[in-house]
C-alpha cells in the first residue's frame, strides 16, 4: 500500500486541507470526498477510501465541518482559514483544555511568567553563564 507509507508523515492531512481551502476560494465552500480525491489524484496513486478516512479524522479534530449534502454523501467545509485554525488550536490547547490534555503534548517550553519571575530566571541565567561562560561563546 503506497498510500500508507506516503501518509506516514501526515502529508495527506495537509494536502487535503489545502485542497479544501483551494476549492473554497474557487467558490465551493462545501465539497465532497470525491471532489477532494479528484483534486489530489494528479500524479499519484491514492485510494478514495484513504481520502475519506483522512477527512473523517480532520473533521474529528475540528478542522473540517461535516454537513449532510443533497444526496447520501456528506459534504465537508473548512472550519476556518489556516491562520484562524492555528490560532484557535493554540488557544484551545493552551488554555481551554484541562491540564491532563496539555500534558498529553508534553508542553514544557511555554511561558506566562510574571516580570518578577522573569527577573528571577534571568538571575539564574547569569549564574549559568558565569559558571560555564568559558566553554560557551555566547550568542554574539
Amino acid at each position: 500500500m503506497p498510500t500508507k507509507t506516503i501518509n506516514k508523515l501526515g502529508e495527506l492531512e495537509r494536502a487535503v486541507m489545502d485542497q479544501v481551502w483551494a476549492l473554497g476560494e474557487s467558490g465551493e465552500p462545501s465539497v465532497s470526498v470525491r471532489q477532494v480525491h479528484e483534486g489530489l489524484l494528479r500524479g499519484r496513486d491514492l485510494a478514495y477510501t484513504t481520502v475519506m478516512t483522512v477527512m473523517g479524522r480532520l473533521a474529528d479534530a475540528g478542522l473540517l465541518v461535516k454537513e449532510r449534502g443533497s444526496g447520501r454523501a456528506y459534504l465537508y467545509a473548512a472550519a476556518g482559514t489556516r491562520e484562524e485554525l492555528t490560532a484557535s488550536s493554540m488557544l484551545g490547547q493552551l488554555q481551554g483544555l484541562p491540564s491532563a490534555d496539555r500534558r498529553a503534548a508534553m508542553l514544557h517550553f511555554l511561558g506566562d511568567a510574571t516580570a518578577e519571575e522573569i527577573a528571577d530566571l534571568k538571575a539564574a541565567l547569569a549564574e549559568v553563564e558565569k559558571r560555564h561562560g568559558r566553554s560557551n561563546g555566547g550568542r554574539s
Binding site: 506516514k8 492555528t86 488554555q95 508534553m106 514544557h108 511561558g111 506566562d112 530566571l121 553563564e129
Partner: protein
C-alpha cells in the same frame, strides 16, 4: 506487615524522597528509585490481604478459610483498580495525542519527518510522543531563538521522544490515580515530572552546553504573545529549578550506586516478605 509496607511506600516514602534534592543531579538513578518504590508498593498492596489470611490459617485459626474470599476480593479490587485506571489514562492520552497530531500535520509546515512549525507568533515548543512522533514549534519560536538555542530545545524534545518519557509519566500517573486519595502523594508526581525534564535538559546540555539551553528557557518563559492570554500553563518554579540544575555539576559519583542499591532493597523488601510467607506455607 505487607500492608504497612504498602502504606509506607505509597504515602510516606514519596514525600521523603521528593525532599532529597540531591537526587535531581542524578536524574536517571533517581527515576529508577521512584519506579522501584512504586512497584514495591503495588506488590505489597496486592499480596497483603491473601497472605494475612494465609498466615492466620497456618496459625490454626479455623475461621481463616472464610476470610480468604474477602481477602482475595480485596487483592482483585486493587489490581482491577490499577488496570482500569491504566486503561482510562492510556486511552485518553492516546486519543488526545492522535487528534492533536492530525491538527499539527494539517496546519503546520513540515521541516523534516518529525518537526512541524505552526504559523503562530507565540513561541512554544512541545512534543507529541507515540508511534508517529512530532516536535511542534511555532514561527514565534524560530524568531525568538538563535540557532544554538533552537538546537538545545530540539535536543531536549527529541530526548523525551527517544527515551519514551511519556511512558514513564504515564506509569506514575496511573499509580497516582489508583492510589486511595488519602495516600496519594502529589509531590511524588511533581518530582517525577521534574526529573524527566532534567533528564531531557541533560541531553540538550550534552549537545550544546548549558548556556544555550538556559537562554532558551528564559526566552520562552517570558515571550508569550499578548494576543493570547495564557492561563497558568508554565510551572515557573520548575523552570527556575531546572535553571539552577543547569549550572550545577553532576551528582558525586557515589550517589548513583547508592540510589541503585536503595532501589534494589526497596523492591526486595516485599518480595522477601512474600518469599518468607510462601516458604512457611510449604513447611
Amino acid at each position: 506487615m505487607l500492608a504497612a509496607l504498602a502504606v509506607v511506600l505509597t504515602a510516606v516514602a514519596p514525600r521523603a524522597m521528593a525532599r532529597q534534592e540531591v537526587f535531581r543531579r542524578s536524574p536517571r538513578a533517581a527515576l529508577l528509585g521512584w519506579q522501584a518504590v512504586s512497584l514495591a508498593a503495588v506488590v505489597s498492596a496486592v499480596s497483603a490481604a491473601p497472605l494475612a489470611v494465609h498466615a492466620l490459617a497456618l496459625g490454626g485459626a479455623g475461621w481463616a478459610a472464610w476470610a480468604a474470599v474477602p481477602a482475595l476480593a480485596f487483592s482483585g479490587l486493587v489490581l482491577g483498580r490499577l488496570l482500569w485506571s491504566g486503561h482510562l489514562v492510556g486511552t485518553r492520552l492516546r486519543a488526545a495525542r492522535r487528534e492533536h497530531r492530525v491538527l499539527v500535520d494539517a496546519l503546520g509546515e513540515a521541516v523534516d519527518d518529525e518537526v512541524r512549525v505552526l504559523a503562530h507568533p507565540t513561541p512554544t515548543a512541545y512534543c507529541l510522543p507515540g508511534l508517529r512522533r512530532r516536535v511542534v514549534l511555532t514561527e514565534g519560536t524560530l524568531r525568538a531563538l538563535p540557532g544554538e538555542e533552537l538546537d538545545a530545545v530540539l535536543a531536549h524534545e527529541r530526548a523525551h521522544l527517544r527515551a519514551r518519557h511519556d511512558l514513564v509519566l504515564e506509569f506514575f500517573t496511573v499509580l497516582h490515580q489508583s492510589a486511595p486519595s488519602r495516600l496519594q502523594a502529589p509531590e511524588a508526581l511533581r518530582e517525577v515530572r521534574l526529573l524527566v525534564e532534567v533528564l531531557a535538559d541533560r541531553a540538550a546540555r550534552r549537545r550544546t552546553g548549558p548556556v544555550p539551553l538556559a537562554r532558551a528557557l528564559v526566552a520562552l518563559a517570558g515571550a508569550s504573545h499578548p494576543e493570547t492570554a495564557l492561563a497558568a500553563t508554565a510551572d515557573v518554579s520548575a523552570t527556575r529549578t531546572r535553571m539552577a540544575l543547569l549550572a550545577e555539576d553532576d551528582a558525586p559519583g557515589w550517589l548513583a550506586p547508592v540510589v541503585y542499591a536503595f532501589a534494589a532493597g526497596v523492591l526486595a523488601a516485599p518480595l522477601a516478605l512474600l518469599g518468607l510467607a510462601l516458604g512457611s506455607m510449604g513447611a
